[in-house]
């Protein structure tokens, strides 16, 4: 037991450091970028001209239908064959962003669709333009619907960043692997890594609860309560 604790404490700084400079930035950056791509794709799919709709559907089809690990390998190991050479972190960032974009576009599309048509009409009736109605009336209500599934995606992403180890990004899981290579203690190190991922996910879950409470403060979508 003492051996366990000792090894965990000794390796903790390396793992935390790897998390701080790779896992966390990779997660945050690819989620923010992925969400932007997802919003754009959702709007394109809902309101764009026919070719754009087809393009978005194709994009979502590809990135939801192939394994994330395969996507990362294609970007990092495959693209150099056609002359596109990316460093590992950039390749991971691009892979995660495109993957998150595909998933979140479907979430955002459904959330926008869940806002009653009457809300568009109410917004138009007071003279709003399409973009004013979207920004001020539709997206805030869609956001509330989208938060739980987006949080799911975000929490999955934190854990999935461990896949970046396979394309040589020295993030937290790879740091654990490196220590295993010298200590031959896979059980201890991988348990430690699992605990750290669990801790990060738990923080995000708590934030999700707080955010949902804030978004729920106005009480519900009850339209007619006569």
């Amino acid at each position: 037991m003492l051996h366990w604790l000792q090894l965990m404490l000794e390796s903790l700084p390396s793992l935390l450091w790897a998390a701080l400079i790779f896992t966390v930035p990779l997660t945050l950056l690819s989620f923010v970028l992925g969400l932007t791509v997802g919003l754009g794709a959702a709007l394109g799919r809902l309101f764009g001209p026919r070719p754009l709709v087809a393009l978005v559907r194709f994009y979502v089809w590809i990135f939801r239908g192939t394994p994330l690990l395969v996507q990362l390998f294609l970007i990092f190991y495959g693209l150099p064959s056609v002359g596109i050479l990316l460093d590992a972190f950039t390749a991971a960032l691009i892979g995660f962003t495109l993957n998150i974009g595909a998933y979140t576009s479907e979430i955002i599309r459904a959330a926008i669709g869940s806002v009653p048509k009457g809300q568009w009409e109410a917004a138009y009736s007071i003279g709003m333009t399409w973009s004013q109605a979207m920004r001020r009336t539709i997206l805030p209500q869609a956001g509330r619907v989208a938060v739980p599934p987006l949080s799911n995606t975000f929490i999955s992403l934190v854990k999935d960043t461990s896949l970046a180890a396979a394309i040589t990004v020295p993030e937290m899981f790879q740091a654990a692997q490196r220590i295993v290579a010298t200590t031959y203690e896979p059980l201890i190190l991988y348990v430690e890594a699992a605990i750290l991922y669990l801790a990060m996910s738990s923080v995000l879950s708590a934030l999700q609860t707080r955010l949902e409470e804030r978004l729920n403060r106005y009480g519900g979508f009850l339209e007619a309560r006569s």
């Binding site: 009653p116 009736s125 007071i126 519900g220 339209e223």
Partner: protein, 257 residues
């Protein structure tokens, strides 16, 4: 002065309005009545262009737009005309993520670019007028239907529209709650607000409306002063419809039909 000339509206193969012409004088209250599917709601929505007429001319004050089949009217023109109108919906459609006063302020600040202070002042005065000033900071979900509809009326009036359009404003409400909405609309009518309402609430129509237009199957069957149309209609079709409305009203104890 509002005029709708030769308004046709087609949904696919279905011709919902078949060349309707109606003139509405400033300061008057006009009720559009008729059976469901007769076109009254569609006609009302053609005034603020939530439905774009297939053909015909819509004029509100000095603004006028002509529609032709398969000619797209620019969004800016539609908005310019729409800004002359305010609308009250059957299901209120308050913005649920904004408080009562924020709902009223929204159009003034976002669309008309008023300063927040000035908009708030006007919004408060309007909430006062509809008897909702005490609930200015309440979320819509915490208000009764009648209260929500009164806030919605204040929201529609905020930009001082030339005409207030009401689409079945009491139909989603219990009789007592409908009464508070009827009272507010009656007060607005007596102050000279131009109003057009699609309704089958006989109490609302007979108490407030001065003019009545009876629409059936997409055409104007009969129009004239409320007293004449409700008391002594000319056409057989109108008589039958008014009789059913009265029966319904009696059956529901003077409630909405």
């Amino acid at each position: 002065m509002i005029s709708l000339t030769n308004i046709e509206k087609r949904f696919g193969d279905n011709l919902v309005l078949k060349g309707v012409t109606v003139a509405i004088a400033e300061g008057s209250v006009t009720a559009l009545v008729g059976p469901s599917g007769g076109g009254k709601s569609t006609l009302l929505r053609c005034i603020n262009l939530l439905e774009i007429p297939t053909s015909g001319t819509v004029r509100i004050g000095d603004e006028s737009l002509e529609f032709r089949p398969s000619v797209k009217v620019p969004a800016a023109d539609i908005r310019r005309l729409r800004l002359q109108t305010g609308m009250v919906f059957q299901n209120f459609q308050l913005f649920p993520h904004r408080t009562a006063i924020e709902n009223v302020v929204e159009g003034l600040v976002t669309v008309l670019k008023w300063s927040p202070e000035r908009a708030r002042e006007r919004a408060l005065a309007l909430l006062q007028k509809v008897g909702m000033a005490h609930k200015a900071d309440a979320w819509p979900a915490t208000l009764s239907g009648g209260q929500q509809q009164r806030v919605a009326i204040a929201r529609a009036l905020a930009p001082s529209p030339k005409v207030l359009l009401c689409d079945e404003p009491t139909s989603a409400l219990d009789p007592e709650l409908a009464q508070e909405v009827v009272d507010v609309l009656g007060q607005l009518a007596s102050e000279g607000t131009t109003m057009v309402m699609a309704t089958h609430d006989l109490r609302l129509a007979s108490k407030i409306a001065r003019e009545v237009v009876f629409l059936d199957a997409g055409v104007v069957v009969e129009k004239g002063p409320a007293a004449v149309l409700f008391g002594n209609p000319e056409r057989e079709r109108t008589k039958r419809f008014i009789a059913t409305l009265k029966q319904e009203a009696e059956r529901e104890g003077g409630g909405e039909g």
